[in-house]
Structure formats: C-alpha cells, structure tokens
Amino acid sequence: MTALPVPAIGAGALDADGGESARFLGWVAVCLAITLVITCGSLVVGTSSIRTSLHWLLSPDAQSSVILWQIRFPRTVGAWFAGALLGMAGAVAQGVFRNPLAEPYLLGTASGAALGVTISLMAADASMSGLAWAGQIGVTGAACVGACVAIALTITLSRGMLQTAGLLLAGIVVAFLLSAVTSLLLLTQPETWRAMQAFLLGSTGFLSWSSVILLGVVFLLCIVPATLLSRGLDALTLGEDTAQSLGLSLPALRLALLGVLSLATAAVVGQVGIVGFVGLVAPHLVRQTLTVNHRQLLIAAPLCGGALLQAADLVSRWIVRPTELPVGAVTACVGGSYLIVLLWRRSRDG
C-alpha cells in the first residue's frame, strides 16, 4: 500500500530517545533516594525528648521501640502511600479532564468525605439509631462511603459521560451541596466542629500498620489499571473526537479512570483527612522537570506525591515539636508557594 520507496532509516528512529529515558530513570532514582532519606529522617525526628543515636536506633528500649516501630515507621510509610495515591489521582484527574488545574477532589469527594465524617461523629455521640451504622464503621469507613456517594451523585448529575465539562460542573455543584448539608448538620451539634476541623486540615498522626496495609493495597489496585489505561489518556490529549475515532470507548474509559480516581481519593481521605495540593502539584512538578507521556507520568507522579507528603509530615512534626502542625496546612503552604512561583514565572515569560 505504499507509493514511495522506504529509504533505509535506522530502526531506532521511532523509538524513544535514549537521553529522555535516561532522564526519566534518573528522576525516578532521585525520588526514591529522597524517599529513603526522609524515611530515615522520620525515624530519627520526633518529640524533642528522645535522644537519638545510632545505638538507640539499633537497640532501643521497650518504649522507644514502640515509638519507633509502631508510631514513626508506619506513619512515614503511610504518608508515602497516601501521597502516592494523591499524586496518581491528580495525574489521572488532569488527564481525564484535560485540565491542568484538575485535582483529586474535583468530583466532590472532599465534601462527601467531610459529610460522612460529620455523620459518623454525630452518630457516635447522639442516639440517632438510624445512623448507628455510621458509628460502627468508624470515621475512616464513613469518610470512604461519603466520598463514594459524592462521586455517584456527580456522575448521576452529569448524566452522560461524554461531556467532560458537565462532569466538572456537576462535581462543583455536588461539592457545594454536600458542604451545605454538612454545615447544617454541624449547626445542630456544634461540639463536633472541633473534631471536624482536625479532619478537614488533615492528620497523619494516627497512621498504624493496618492503615499502611490498606493504603498499600489500594495503591496497587489503582496503579495497575491506571498504567494499563495510560494509552487511552494519551489518546484523549489529541481531542475527544480523535480519541473516539481511534477506537476508544470514551464512556468506558472515563468510567474506569473515574473509578480509579474515586477509590484512591476515598481511601486517602478516610485515612488522613483532606490534604490538599499534593494531588495538584505532584503532576505539575513532574511535567516541569520532565516531558512524559501518561505511562511515565503515572509512575513519576506517585513517586513525587509520596515524597511530598512524607516531607510535609516530617516538617509538621519537626517545626514546632513536640506539638505538631496539621499536615494539610503544611502542604497548602508548600503547594501554594510552588504554584505562585509557577504563575509568576509564566507571566514573566509572557
């Protein structure tokens, strides 16, 4: 079917640039190294009353051993998994919505989780028998359920998966709606406000090994389908019409990706509360330093997000030790500053 003769071009002309993949691998290695350093640092840093030394690390007394292996280690590993999930969810969200401002909480998951937590906290105190189940599954379960309900509501509201703009709009509407319901509920029992604040600002304080296992399993469940679907995300960047013409089923692709997004976000919100900016900044950071296709992005963004949240956790514990800052506040400061720098640079470049 060719009219022109095929000149002798080297077979590697169409393969990925050797230099590019070397950069990518280097970037991955740097991320892993940073993660390792932060993990070690997290083991050492804590409340100021603990004197740390190599001797102490290798043979701690019983109480220090508890602190080390049951508090610090699962906390930092859990923070990594949570950050990785958020980074991946952010990359998926930005791909599905083809919008660099997209982030994991777009579909109203944050508000839904907050509502779930409110109901759970209220049911725990009050004797509302209808909501006793909320108290049963605990705050984490309630946050998950709330997030899933929000997403279901968004998808139903947008009525038809072929409209990305409709989905975004529905997500915003659902977020506002559920926030309003949450506020109304809080008015009737305002003592839960303070507990809600802790949730809303995010906290890695009580991550245990069971949380780590949960987050790890969810991470695997999400990253595998996401990387498999990465070509679909690539095709989406060419435009919806073109993607459709290539044989992609847009509704099915969106459904699968949104499913991954929801699972990841719900799990994270349940465990650490609402931690903003990691999902937004991690993919941007990757794109600033590398140019990648979606398969590489879905590897690099989790690494970046994990390192980010781990670092934020470390900072929140170290700066005002032995008290701590809410980790969401730290990520907001760091993430916000980064975005400001980005905007400034962009406006300067014209």
Binding site: A3, L14, R231, A235, T237, D241, T242, G247
Partner: protein, 271 residues
C-alpha cells in the same frame, strides 16, 4: 497490489448515507441528505461557513449520532461495526491540530491503536506502517520532538501521519490544509489524490480553499441546510452549484487543465 485493489473495488465500498438528518440540540444543521462517497475517489465537501461541513463529516465518521437516517460504511451499517473494526477502517483528522507533550512518534503510534490495542506492544508491522506514514508526510525528521515544540503546520503533518498510519480504507479529513503553507498544501493534495487513485482509499475531505477543493475528483456542495448537488467537479461547474451555495457569483477559470477560483475584486458595490 494497487492495481488488483483498483480492479476489485465495487462502487459502493466507501461511505454512504440515506435521509441523514443531523443537528446540535434543537438546531438542525442538515436534513434529508443522501450521499454516496465512493472508494478510490477523492471527494471534497465545500460550502459556506456554518453550512454543516464539519457536522456532516463527523456524522459520517460515526462521531456524532444522527437524528435520522442511516449511514453505511463499506456496505454495512455504521453502527453494526464493532468500535475496533470501525477504527481500523475509518480514520479521522480533526480540524484543530492539538499540541500535546507527546512526541511525534508517540502521536503517530496512537494511529496504530486500533490495530494493537491497549496492551500489545508495537510489532514490526506497526513500526513499518508508522515509518511509511511519517515519510509520506515528511515528518520523520522530528519523530522525537514534542508536539508542543512544533509549529502549527508541522503539527498538522504529524497528525496527517497519524491518520495515514491507521492504513484505513476510508479517510475523513476536516480542513486538512489549515496552517499549512502553499508547498505543503500541495503535498497534502498530492497525498490525498495518491491515496485515492493508487491505494483505492475513499477520501472525504472538507476543504475551505476552493482551488484546492476543485482538485478533487468529486464535489459535495452544501448550502441552505441541505445538499445543493453532488457529483464530479465537471458537473458542479456545469450546474454552477458553487454560486448557488455561496449565493454569490463564484468565478471559476480553467488554467492549464486545472480549475482555479478567480476572486473578482473589480466588482462595484451597490449600496
């Protein structure tokens, strides 16, 4: 191979539609359209702005559900083809050449998506198809460059290569010569003609530029919510469909065997 293909092609092996009605929301753009887009033929769709060129093409390519009517691809109902089969047989080129962070090679490899699917890695055949496509459009030199770093015209050629890589039997192009400078517009026209005549491909394109459109084999002239006429270029000129469509006198001259549109600037304006 090409000669065999040409001999075997039946007349109705391209796209066809019957009583097609398309529109957006409550607005109907085209109504009662019945067309035959033949294989081994380059058909150009012309008409004034807003007459529904893109809408018609999108409907024929299966990207838009018609209000009424049927569309058939290679003799079968469009909807009866599986998504993948249809993607293998019909390739689409959008009007806007999107800029992405993907490399040109990656974009072109997406054209093989319908053939290798999600998981399958690129085979030698895929690679060969890609190379041919990129050579045909002259985009091989920047195979490793990111689309966002290329100019509009270069991007357009990469997208053309992607479309060619599908090796489909029906090509539907929406304004393929946008952003291209004249030498490359020439190349595109030559490419489309070659695909139609030598590869037996059914080529359907919407072209703004009348002179280029008149290089096609057949014309579909749209206007006034429907089809003004469809047939060979000679038919179109004989019946002056263009003037009816544009509702003004369209001056076509014959020069050296080529039909050219001659803009009339000396017209006196009356009020």
């Amino acid at each position: 191979m090409a000669e065999v293909m040409r001999a075997l092609i039946p007349v109705r092996a391209g796209l066809a539609c019957r009583e097609l009605s398309v529109g957006y929301g409550s607005r109907t753009v085209l109504e009662g359209v019945s067309l035959d887009v033949r294989a081994a033929c380059w058909t150009a769709v012309v008409g004034p702005n807003g007459c529904g060129k893109s809408t018609l093409l999108r409907a024929l390519a299966g990207l838009m559900a018609p209000r009424q009517g049927t569309i058939s691809l290679q003799g079968r109902q469009l909807t009866s083809w599986s998504r993948r089969e249809r993607a293998r047989r019909l390739a689409w080129l959008a009007q806007t050449a999107t800029a992405t962070d993907l490399t040109a090679a990656e974009v072109v490899s997406l054209g093989r998506f319908a053939h290798c699917g999600w998981l399958a890695h690129r085979t030698a055949e895929d690679a060969a198809a890609m190379r041919r496509a990129m050579l045909a459009t002259g985009s091989l030199p920047w195979a490793r460059r990111r689309l966002s770093t290329l100019s509009g015209g270069e991007r357009q050629r990469v997208h053309l290569a992607r479309m060619l890589a599908v090796e489909a039997s029906v090509l539907v192009l929406d304004e393929p010569t946008t952003h291209l400078d004249p030498p490359h517009q020439e190349d595109v026209a030559r490419l489309l003609r070659q695909q139609a005549h030598e590869c037996g491909v059914c080529v359907l394109s919407a072209i703004h530029d009348l002179s280029l459109a008149l290089m096609a084999d057949r014309l579909i002239v749209l206007g006034d919510g429907g089809v003004i006429g469809h047939g060979t270029v000679r038919d179109a000129l004989n019946h002056d469909w263009l003037s009816k469509a544009f509702q003004t006198s369209v001056n076509i001259v014959d020069y050296d065997g080529v039909h050219l549109w001659r803009p009339q600037l000396e017209m006196t304006s009356n009020g």
